[in-house]
């Protein structure tokens, strides 16, 4: 019934795969995906474990709605301790892998220990075994997927794998599924690599049942109608993808440019959704070939792109001249504006490489931007970079550095450590645009105050998704708030964090919340799952998950002092745009945030709060 009530425990050391019942009490309290996997991580591991040690666990988790008829029901998560931040790593992906895993009859897979030799996990319904992957080690994600499909002789199998970056321990390596969907952030791919686990292949034909099929149909159809009629989910996202934001955020003056030196980028239009749709002079084709969808999703915001075959990045390289996953807004920002690069083909190529070798484009771009800052300050020179002039906007060098990082060669090895370690090593920690070790993405906190609070308090390090207050502060969904004021942002951020944690645990995509509220989502969960599920319960589950994650991070050594922002965001004013003259005023928001959270002045959840949430 929505949950399969079965988890697969894989002991990579012993080479065994065992089925065990899902803890249904925990399922009722934490749902699935993010919440449920984190609960297992909290109960089964030491928060101080070395992320690369065999004692770290990697949990692959679907949600109760994954594989059902609820729109966007393809989501699944990867949870472990992060090698980049040392906090919780909880990364969410779409595509088709999650739906297939649920259809095979599994709610979760828990990987424990480490294999002596490279292996991959092969699942067909209830049959699961580890197989030798020594011929796959050293292959890219794309080669791995193609090979495993051919080996299975079945085009309907779904694959999630790591590329060179995960094998080489790049701290922000990703797990990539279905060629170009990813559990991108916090280095989950590196943890997978540290276990000598190359890939997971799954084929599922068991079927997914729900508690009340008629109610499921009715509530899902209602949700689909709302999604279709909404301007963002029914028009903006399918037409432009998340790239619909590039020109919007730039015009607002909230586009962090050249490692945060500026808040507007003169090249923004060249790497925007509109630019992707514009036919090229060279071959008359546009970068954007079409949009596409993840499993059971009517929004279909995926981009399918093709690079100009005569562009220097792909000339004589037929393997990059095909149609593949195009730019999301975050990737275009990171690989474009953060580095001062405005060549759309180069930025798309860098995105292809991220999918091919499994890299987080946000951390990659932000790290490159930080390296360019170090170069500008003379802290690193062309001697360090292998003769390359790593200046802002130098497209050829940018591309060379992306390749080097993916392959783990030369200066690419250093870039693979992320901006925090890189900047600390070269004497300028202030050049790293990170919170708790993770780089913040495409919304400048000096121009959108609530996002700054969100970055500072996110449980997985800086992240735009944990509390996407842009919805309210910029897009005016559910009521417009003023991005330039701090008043009311504490409550706003908490509300977003809690509902998001619940949606992240449901098996559906956060993008539905551009159109759906808790009142639209809860009925689908209620129709699918045992128990009574209303909006209050959803928000309570979300709040419980948030506090559980907070507790883990505190045990891992994080304190209120880590709830901060890079100095540049607190001290260097925005030079142009609607927030000209502003910095982020975190000190006006954080104390109230702790209060509304029910935490003490140093950001520790009080006993009352923990008891109320049964923690």
């Amino acid at each position: 019934m929505s949950w399969s009530e079965k988890i697969l425990r894989v002991d990579l050391g012993a080479g065994t795969c065992t089925s065990e019942p899902l803890n249904m009490e925990w399922a009722q309290d934490y749902m699935g995906q993010r919440g449920l996997a984190t609960k297992y991580l909290v109960e089964e591991t030491d928060p101080n474990v070395d992320p690369f040690s065999p004692d770290n666990k990697m949990i692959i988790a679907t949600g109760p709605l994954t594989g059902t008829i609820a729109p966007t029901s393809g989501r699944w998560s990867v949870v472990c301790k992060s090698p980049l931040t040392g906090a919780i790593a909880c990364s969410n992906s779409g595509g088709f892998f999650g739906g297939e895993l649920k259809n095979a009859g599994w709610d979760m897979i828990i990987f424990e220990g480490k294999s002596d030799t490279p292996v991959y996990l092969d699942i067909t319904n209830d049959k699961a075994e580890l197989k030798d992957a020594s011929d796959l080690w050293g292959k890219s994600v794309w080669e791995t997927e193609t090979t495993l499909r051919e080996r299975r002789g079945d085009n309907d199998v779904r694959v999630a794998s790591i590329g060179l970056a995960g094998e080489n321990g790049v701290l922000y390596a990703a797990v990539v599924n279905d060629m170009d969907r990813a559990a991108g952030r916090s280095g989950v791919g590196a943890v997978m690599g540290s276990k000598n686990l190359k890939a997971m292949v799954v084929r599922g034909t068991v079927g997914v049942k729900v508690k009340d099929p008629m109610a499921m149909m009715k509530t899902s159809n209602t949700a689909k109608e709302i999604l279709a009629e909404n301007a963002i989910t029914g028009e903006g996202l399918p037409t432009h993808g998340t790239q619909v934001l590039m020109n919007v955020i730039n015009e607002l003056g909230a586009l962090p440019t050249r490692n945060g030196h500026d808040v507007q980028f003169e090249g923004a239009h060249d790497i925007s959704a509109e630019a992707m749709a514009e036919p090229r002079e060279s071959d008359g084709e546009a970068n954007l070939v079409s949009n596409a969808a993840c499993f059971n999703c009517p929004i279909s915001c995926q981009r399918r792109s093709k690079i100009d075959p005569s562009h220097f990045t792909v000339k004589d390289k037929p393997e990059y001249q095909m149609v593949s996953g195009g730019l999301e807004y975050e990737a275009a920002w990171a690989l474009g504006a953060a580095c001062g690069v405005k060549d759309l083909d180069a930025v798309t190529y860098a995105n292809f490489v991220c999918n091919e070798q499994g890299l987080d484009p946000i951390t990659l771009g932000s790290t490159l931007g930080a390296a360019m800052d170090l170069y500008a300050a003379g802290a690193i020179t062309s001697d360090d970079t292998g003769g390359h002039e790593l200046t802002f906007g130098n497209t050829e060098v940018f591309v060379a550095m992306v390749d080097a990082t993916a392959k783990g060669e030369g200066f690419g090895k250093e870039l693979g450590q992320g901006s925090k370690r890189l900047c600390a090593k070269y004497g300028h920690p202030e050049f790293s645009m990170t919170v708790k070790g993770q780089e913040f993405p495409a919304y400048d906190p000096r121009a959108i105050q609530g996002m700054g609070l969100g970055y500072a308090t996110s449980n997985r390090g800086a992240c735009h998704l944990r509390a996407y207050t842009v919805s309210s502060e910029v897009l005016g969904i559910g009521g417009k708030t003023d991005p330039l004021v701090t008043e009311g942002k504490a409550g706003l951020v908490k509300a977003f964090q809690d509902l998001t944690a619940a949606v992240d645990s449901s098996g559906t995509c956060i993008f539905t919340t551009f159109a759906l509220t808790g009142d639209d989502i809860a009925p689908m969960i209620d129709a699918a799952c045992e128990g009574d599920w209303g909006v209050e319960r959803l928000n309570e589950v979300g709040e419980r998950i948030w506090n559980m994650e907070r507790q883990y991070n505190i045990a891992a050594g994080f304190t209120g002092a880590d709830d901060t922002l890079p100095e540049r965001m607190l001290k260097d004013i925005a030079k142009t745009g609607s927030a000209k003259g502003s910095v982020n005023r975190l000190d006006e928001m954080l104390p109230e945030y702790y209060q509304v959270r029910g935490w003490d002045e140093s950001g520790v959840p009080t006993q009352d709060t923990l008891s109320r949430l049964s923690l």
């Binding site: 729109p71 739906g99 259809n103 079927g207 059971n296 279909s300 593949s324």
Partner: protein, 161 residues
């Protein structure tokens, strides 16, 4: 006027919602493996092709069946399998040139699209114009029209929504 299922890969996003609804109609569970509508991906996801039985006039499946398990529904024109009569010999699945009728090991009989008795669920599920239930005689005309207008007017036909 009989209607036909029109499948247009130009606007298919590859979301598989049709498969989900079809499988639910057929077996009461969400299971694309039990769907008779199949969506295949080509060219890096740039082309998605939904396909199923076209209820063709030749009806090779019906002609070769040794036990006359396949009959024509007079209301919809669909070629329907009688599960009680079917013996699972699979000759129909060999005869069909489109692979639209297939054996299901769990039930021991073959399965194919029957237009859901006249209200195809896949069409209801599809979020784009990729699947439509249209007058049998018109399934080609609007494609010609679309191409003509795309030439004459600067139509953007790459976006599916």
């Amino acid at each position: 006027m009989l209607k036909a299922l029109r499948m247009d890969s130009d606007t298919c996003t590859g979301c598989h919602q049709c498969e989900m609804m079809c499988s639910y109609g057929k077996v009461g569970a969400f299971n694309p493996a039990k769907s008779v509508m199949d969506v295949s991906l080509y060219n890096g996801g740039a082309v998605n092709i939904p396909s199923t039985c076209t209820q063709c006039e030749e009806a090779w499946c019906m002609v070769v069946c040794p036990v006359e398990a396949i009959t024509i529904n007079p209301t919809t024109g669909a070629k329907e399998i009688s599960a009680e009569v079917c013996v699972g010999c699979k000759v129909c699945s060999i005869a069909c040139p489109y692979g639209a009728i297939n054996y299901d090991a769990d039930s021991g009989v073959v399965t194919k699209c029957d237009l859901c008795g006249g209200e195809p669920m896949c069409v209801e599920a599809c979020p784009t114009p990729a699947l439509a239930f249209v007058d049998k005689d018109s399934t080609g005309y609007d494609r010609i029209w679309n191409h003509v207008t795309a030439e004459l007017v600067d139509c953007d036909s790459t976006v599916r929504h």
